[in-house]
Structure formats: C-alpha cells, structure tokens
C-alpha cells in the first residue's frame, strides 16, 4: 500500500517535472510567446484571487516556471557571441539578474511552508522549572534606556529563586553599578572590551550558572510572560538550543516615520520576523537574532560560547549550534519590544554591520560547506547571507537604463519585444507571488526601496569582507535619541541623489532620441519605463532621508487600562488610559472633572501590579479627556510605570494590525506619490538654512529618591 503510494507520488513528480521542463524549454515564435505569457498571466490573476494553500502553491509553481523559461531563453539566445564592451556590460547585467532570480527562488523556499509554532505548556510542578540568567549587555547607551529593561526583566513571571537579572556593563559606569545595587540586580564588568557584545556575553557566561540564558539588548523590554511563553519548548526538548521571539519595535522605523506610512504599510523588520523566521523554522534553521531569545547553556558551552569571529555573532552562533546537531525554534509571539533606529543614517549603519558580518560568515564558515548541516539548513543560511550581497546587483539595475539611453550601448542582445514577451511575465509573476506570500508583512516594491537605501553603502563592505573577512570593528547601533527639527540628511542621501540625476538624465536623453528619431522606438520605451521605475524607487529613498521630528523623546504606547486620578482636594475620578509613556499619559474620565492645567494629580494604574499612585500634573483638560505629565518619580514608582507600560503580557500582540492589504500597483503608486512629495520636502528643507540637530540626546527622566 505504502509502496504503491510512493510510486504514485514519484510518477506524479516525474510527470510534473516533465510538464514544467516542457514549459520551460519549448521554443515559440514571438507571437505565440506573447499569447502564452498572456494566458499564464491571466491564470495567475485568477489564482491570486482564490484563497487557500493550493492556490498559493500553484502561484509559486507558475512563477518558478515562468522565471525558468525566461532564464532559459536569456541564457540560450541573448548572450553576446563575441568579446566587446557591450558584451561585458551585458554580462554584468546577466549576473545581476541571475542573483535576483536565485534570491527569488531561495525566498520562495524560505517562505512557502512557514511553521506557525505555538508555545508549549511548562510542567505543572514548579520544581521542574529551570533556572534562568537574564543578560542585558550595554556599552554606551544612556542609563535611562537600560532602566526600563531592567525593571521589566526583573518583573518577569518566573520563580524568584530561579531568575537572576544581570547588567553586563562594558562601559564600566558607576551610575549603572549604583542603579543595579538599588534595583537588586546583578552587575558585571570585565577588563577591556574584547569582541564587543559577544565577548561581554561570554564573560557573563563564565560568571553565572543558570541552566538557560535569556538575552535582551538593553532597549528591548520583555513583557512579564516572556519566559513562560518561550521556555516550554526548551524544557520539553533537551536537543533544542535556542528559542527566538520577534523583535517588535514600539517606535517607528525611519521609513515609516519619514514616509508617514505607519500603520498601513508593514514596518521594515516585519518581513523577517513575520515570514522568514517562521519559514526557516520549518527547515530547523531559524537563528538567534542577538536579543529577545533564550539559549541553553550547555549548547552555548559546546560551541565555545557566543561566536566572536564575526560581527554578526548571533547568526554565527546559531550556525555553529546547527552544525553540532542542536535544534532551534522561533516563536511568533511578540514578547518584548524595543526602539527602532532613530534615523536613516543609523539604520544604514546598523545594516552595514549586519551585511559585513554575514559576508564574514560566508567567507569564514560558509554554510554550503563544512559538516553537520542538512541541505535545507544550508540553503536557508545561504539565502540569509546572500540577501546582504544585494548591493552590487541593485546598483546594476539602477544604472542599467543609462547604457542604452545615454550611450547607445546594447546590453540586452535581443529584440526588445522578445525581452518584453519573456521578461515581463517573469516580473509580473514574481511580484504577484511575493504579494501573496509576503503581502501581510512586506508590501510589493518596498524591498526595492530598502535595498536601494543600502545598496551603495553595503556594496563595498560586503565585497571587502569577502576579501579580508577578519578586518573591521563592531559598531554599536545608536538608539534612544531623538530628532528635534525636520532636516534633510543630504550626506546619507547623496548616492540616491546622484543615481536619481543619472536616471533623470537617461530619461532626458531618451526623450531627445525620440525627438530626433535616433534609436529604436521599442528599446527607448522599455528603457525609459525602466528608468522611471528606478526614479520612483530612488525618490522614496530620498524621501526616507528627510528626517521628520519625533514628537516625544519617550514614545507613547496605546493602552487601555483601568486607572484613577486623585486630585489635591481629596476627591477621585475613575478613568481609563488611552496612551501611556514614561513621561506622561492621556486618560478618559468617566465624567468630566473640574481640573485646571498645572494642577497636581496622582495617577493610579490598575494592572497586574499593586497600586502605586504616580505624581503628575495636568497638561490639558478637555472635559473627559485629560493629559497629564509625570513629575519626578521614585525608583519604585518608575518601576511600576515601566511594568504597566511594557510588561503587560498582551502589550504587543496586535503588531500586525492596521496594515492595508497589499495591491502591487496601488503600492507602487503610493510609493511614487510619497517619494515625489518627499523630494519636494527635501528641496524645501535644503533651501532653508539647514538646522542639523546637535548630537542626538535623550532627555533623562528625572529621578528622586523617596524621602
């Protein structure tokens, strides 16, 4: 029975493969190819409308087949036959295209069968719950950022005798030591800062003994249920080394802030945590992301602690564990939240580090080579690393139209209409398929915007890291700053401006050629359309460099909590919070109250914690809606406030709420609209005398000790 089933499957697979091969290799004349392309696009259109997994798989199959047909045609008929300058250019374009197609296939593999892992219950007996050390590494971040994380980490629901929080201070700052003592958490420092964060964590590993280690970047604040949600799998499966949870950001990333897309467009990080990590979890290849994760000490010790050879120590550590047969898991429940990078420049800096680190791993410990990995794990890691090499191919695509429009070079050795007949279906299918697979977490064309912002910056470091992988230092991502006034960061945007000018010039040259009747009409149209597309993407990149001010230094978090206002005259008002921040809150009263601005009040938040009224003053009273600002808080009060804002078990569950459905053409139109508006803003800001803020600094919440 079983064998006949298997034979049936094998036959079906062979038949399917034969069909696809036939589809890919059958030569057709141009007219028939157009008809085929049209038919397949129509089929995809209907498939995209129908729900269900089968339709998704069919879409992926169609997309892969169409791309394969395109590549077959491209490699078979469009290669230059002799060596010439044009041939070199067209070779570069072909290489970039091959890269893009490989990434497309790998991305399908990553996201086609996402594992929606759910938490596992812990043993009933509390005595079977293991001990956990919580590491909060810090180097130069302000104490104010770290305080919240420490308060929340210490408030996680776990047996008190088996939970120990440690501040790992590589800055060796006395203020941190004093705070740790006051808050009753451990404080560790070391001689020197060798190997940055990885070295810091390894030093702490040597000084502690818990069975598990939870790591939080100092701005990632865990909710109180973090351990009870994430530990179940680790306790049940002794072969599991890591449980990673998403990095959720409660402040907006530079793209969604500067392009004003939140919450309708998913944030930059959501593709990775919403699609890719669950996707590679299926292949047992989800990896440690440096924070918001729990690691098994024995597994860490087996691979010699956190990896120090590269600047992306997290992924490298996971890779080493996988090589030794350990398993990893990804839990798609946001149980911690942090600050997104404040500016585009900071974002680029962070990604340069990631790109360089991944390139280092690629060189030093290539996942395609070496022992211990399954094929799917190899491909998953390969995809994660290859992703960061997108810089050079992206630049090729951004510059390609100038070759024909500006210099009359033929880099595509084929009839223009044939290029459309083979190439366009490939583009349409891959866009439709991506919208289907990723649409909830990344809208179409946004990847191009993100890649474009990084392309010029990562192209060189990744190439250098391939050549000399041991060079380069770890740079800390600056967070917790704020932008005071809008400004256009012309320095970071200069490559985008240059590329935009190049594409504009290409379009102008194209228009000129059209007018003089020089050149071939079909080629002109294709290349101008291409340059226009580039221009749209580049304008969005330029717009992303128009830094908008962040209104508050301390982010507000929307939260509906039962609350109370107590007034100076001894009366009270029942209330509900609308939003909460470390600086103040907005509340809705049950009935209008007669309070005036600047009047002192006390705000009590009724959540899981014992009541702890917070002193505040009224900023604004709109009858039932009152805004208050906290006056200096004691340590106890501050800790209570932090727990009320950040520690609630359900605080970040709605992290994908509010996204608009992805409709590729509408998305492109909205990118164009936001991009061109942003370019206008960039011009306006540049014409005004630029007011660059001084060093980003954070206003510390004043603290006094209780008398």
């Amino acid at each position: 029975m079983r064998s006949s089933n298997e034979i049936g499957r094998a036959l079906a697979a062979i038949f399917g493969a034969a069909c696809v091969t036939l589809f890919v290799v059958t030569p057709l004349d141009l007219r028939t190819q157009f008809a085929l392309a049209g038919a397949v696009v129509v089929a995809a259109f209907f498939l995209a409308r129908s729900e269900g997994r089968l339709a998704t798989l069919a879409l992926v199959l169609l997309s892969v087949a169409t791309t394969a047909r395109y590549l077959f045609w491209r490699l078979g008929t469009t290669l230059a036959s002799d060596w010439s300058f044009d041939a070199v250019l067209s070779g570069i374009l072909l290489a970039a295209e091959l890269y893009a197609c490989t990434m497309l296939l790998l991305a399908y593999g990553q996201s086609i069968a996402g594992l929606r892992r759910r938490p596992l219950p812990l043993p009933d007996a509390l005595s079977k719950w293991p001990s956990v050390d919580v590491f909060i590494p810090t180097y130069n971040e302000p104490l104010d950022v770290v305080r919240a994380t420490v308060h929340a980490a210490a408030a996680m629901d776990w047996p008190r005798d088996r939970l120990k929080v440690w501040i790992l201070d590589d800055g060796r700052r006395p203020a941190f030591r004093d705070f740790a003592a006051e808050a009753g958490v451990g404080y560790l420092t070391r001689e020197g800062n060798a190997h940055a964060k990885a070295g810091n964590l390894n030093h702490a590993l040597s000084r502690t003994h818990g069975e598990f280690v939870a790591v939080f970047d100092c701005d990632h604040i865990p909710v109180r249920s973090f351990l009870q949600i994430s530990m179940g799998w680790l306790v049940r499966d002794p072969g599991l080394a890591v449980v990673q949870t998403p990095h959720h950001f409660y402040s907006r990333d530079p793209f969604s802030r500067n392009l004003a897309t939140a919450p309708r467009v998913p944030g930059e990080s959501q593709l990775f945590y919403g699609v890719i990590q669950p996707g590679i979890d299926t292949w047992n290849a989800s990896f440690f992301c440096g924070s918001c994760a729990v690691l098994r000490r024995t597994a860490l010790e087996e691979v010699g602690g956190i990896a120090v050879e590269t600047v992306t120590e997290d992924a490298h550590t996971a890779l080493k564990m996988h090589r030794r047969g350990w398993r990893t898991a990804y839990l798609d429940v946001p149980q911690a939240a942090g600050l997104a990078t404040e500016t585009l420049a900071a974002h680029v800096g962070q990604r340069i580090r990631w790109a360089r680190g991944m390139a280092q791993i690629f060189r030093l410990d290539n996942p395609m080579l070496g022992r211990g990995l399954s094929l799917t794990q190899r491909f998953s890691y390969f995809a994660a690393m290859l992703h960061f090499f997108s810089g050079v191919p992206r630049l090729v695509f951004l510059l390609a139209p100038i070759a024909y429009l500006g210099f009359g070079r033929h880099i595509f050795n084929a009839l223009p209409l044939a290029a459309v007949a083979y190439g366009l279906p490939h583009l349409i299918h891959s866009t439709a398929c991506n919208a289907r697979l990723h649409g909830r977490f990344r809208h179409s064309f946004w990847s191009e915007v993100y890649e474009t912002c990084l392309a010029t910056y990562t192209a060189l470091p990744t190439t250098l890291a391939l050549i000399a992988p041991r060079k380069g230092r770890f740079n800390v991502t600056a967070k917790g700053g704020r932008v005071d006034a809008p400004y256009f960061d012309a320095r970071i945007a200069s490559p985008f401006l240059l590329l935009a000018v190049v594409n504009l010039a290409a379009i102008a040259a194209g228009a000129w050629k059209l007018r003089t009747g020089e050149g071939d009409l079909d080629s002109l149209i294709i290349n101008v359309a291409w340059a226009l597309h580039n221009l749209i993407i580049l304008s969005a990149a330029i717009a992303a460099a128009c830094e908008r001010p962040q209104v508050r230094s301390a982010q507000r978090v929307p939260a509906r909590l039962a609350a109370m206002l107590r007034f100076a005259d001894g009366t009270t008002a029942a209330a509900e919070t609308r939003d909460l921040g470390r600086d103040g809150a907005s509340v809705t009263l049950r009935a209008p109250a007669d309070v005036r601005p600047r009047e002192p009040v006390w705000l009590s938040l009724f959540c899981f914690d014992a009541e702890q009224p917070l002193p505040a003053e009224v900023l604004e009273n709109g009858g039932r809606s009152v805004r208050v600002r906290f006056t200096p808080l004691t340590l106890e009060q501050e800790s209570h406030l932090v727990r009320a804002i950040f520690s609630r078990a359900d605080a970040w569950l709605g992290w994908t709420d509010g996204h608009r459905r992805d409709r590729p053409l509408l998305t492109l139109a909205s990118i164009a609209q936001r991009g061109f508006a942003g370019v206008g803003r960039a011009l306006a800001l540049s014409l005004r005398p630029p007011r660059r803020p001084a060093l980003p600094e954070r206003v510390p919440a004043p603290v006094r000790s209780e008398a």
């Binding site: 009270t572 029942a574 049950r590 899981f608 014992a610 359900d650």
Partner: protein, 244 residues
C-alpha cells in the same frame, strides 16, 4: 487572572497552558461563591469604630440599584447612624423584614460595634470593614477569634470576608497594611478596595450618596465593583429573569 494574561492566552490558544502569576497583585483565585436562592443578607461588621461601615452600607445599596438590583439597608446599630441620616420607616421590624424579603434581592445590615452575636451567626455573608491602618490591623486576631467562636456556636456558617475601605495608595502605610492583610488572610480579602474619597465620607455626613454627588469618582466605580464581586447585582438580575 489579570486581563493582560487573559488576552495573551486567548491569542496563543494553547490547550493546557496554565499561567503562573508571580506579580504583586496576584491572589490565588477565590473559590466560587455558593449561590443561594432568594434573599441574601450581607452584614457590615467591625470591631473598630469609624471605619466607614454605615456610609458603605448606604452607598452599596445605591450601587446595587445602579446595576439593576434591589437592596434594602437595615440598621441594627443602637447608635443608629443610618436611620438618623436617611430616616427610617419605623414600622415593626419583623413585619418589615418579611416584606423586604419578598421584594428585595439583598439586605445590607449595618451592625453596631461590636457586632451583635445574632448578626454574626445569621447573616449569609459577613463583610469585615477595615481601614488600612494600625488599629484595624491589630484588631484582626480579635475579629478572627470572635468569628471562630460564633461559627462554633451557630449551625449556620456565614462566610466572612474583609473589605478595605478608605485606601490611599500614596501612603506607604496604606500599601503595606493592604499587603499585610492579604498575606494574613489570603483570598478572604476582597479584590475590590474602596479608595479614600471625600465624596464618600463627607458626602455621607451631608446626606449625599456617591452616585448622586460624584458619579464619575473612583469610589462610585469601586462600589459597583464591590456589588459585582459580592454577586449581589448579578444575583438580582438572575432573580428578575426568573420572576418574569
């Protein structure tokens, strides 16, 4: 279970996932109230004078009415604060009680200090009112002893729970007294805590109920929560549904 954990568990939908709450306000879940048919008698008792028993009694009756229930107050305090503030029917108590039993859901009995023995033994529910202060805390053992003695003598075993009144979280002493009470008595301290508010104490002296004078105040919300926690309002609604 606190609302945030409830939301989380609803979100992850894992059968058998039991959350352990280690937070400060976490109390082991109280046993479900045994529902009785008919009239409930809730007696407000205390050994300490001036804890706000009488004002609570009157205001709770109003809060029950606010939620669609029907409660009557009975003043058996010889000092008669309730009767003198709001006026009394002055009818023959035994006739009166029978009539009330027929048409009301709850009788809220304001006893004197110390509470008469028959109130302690005959009420369905005893609410020991305490302020979060030293006097109330030090009276806990005495009250517990009195309750034990009464239970030994009477065959009805009224359930006694503690209610903290006039709590002001700004005062460290109040917070510590509340947690000391919770430590000592566990789930027998009601989750609902009545906040200190002039609208309750001074309003009562002036013959005003919180729900009339300060509807939007936290005490009004607390009194409603108290009615809910004692399941007076819920029971009232149920009985009405049965009657109709």
């Amino acid at each position: 279970m606190t609302p945030d954990v409830r939301n989380l568990l609803r979100h992850v939908r894992v059968p058998g996932l039991r959350y352990r709450d280690f937070s400060a306000a976490a109390a082991p879940s109280a046993r479900r109230f045994v529902r009785r048919e008919g009239l409930t008698t809730v007696a407000f008792v205390s050994l300490v004078r001036g804890v706000g028993r009488t004002a609570l009694c009157a205001n709770l009756a109003r809060a029950v009415a606010e939620q669609g229930g029907r409660a009557a107050t009975v003043d058996v305090d010889p000092r008669g604060g309730l009767a003198s503030t709001f006026g009394a029917d002055g009818r023959d108590p035994s006739v009166c009680i029978e009539q009330l039993a027929a048409e009301r859901d709850a009788l809220l009995v304001d006893s004197g200090t110390p509470p008469p023995e028959d109130v302690l033994s005959e009420a369905d529910e005893l609410l020991v009112v305490a302020r979060p202060d030293g006097a109330s805390l030090s009276a806990v053992p005495q009250m517990e002893a009195l309750l034990v003695r009464t239970r030994m003598r009477s065959w009805r075993k009224p359930r006694a729970r503690w209610l903290v009144n006039a709590f002001d979280g700004r005062r460290r002493a109040d917070r510590e007294a509340l947690s000391a009470l919770r430590r000592a008595l566990g789930t027998r301290v009601l989750q609902t805590v009545i906040q200190e508010d002039r609208a309750l104490s001074e309003g009562f002296a002036a013959g005003l109920l919180v729900h009339d004078a300060a509807r939007g105040s936290q005490v009004a919300a607390d009194l409603e929560a108290l009615a809910q926690e004692l399941q007076i309002a819920g029971r009232a609604r149920e009985r009405h549904a049965q009657l109709e």
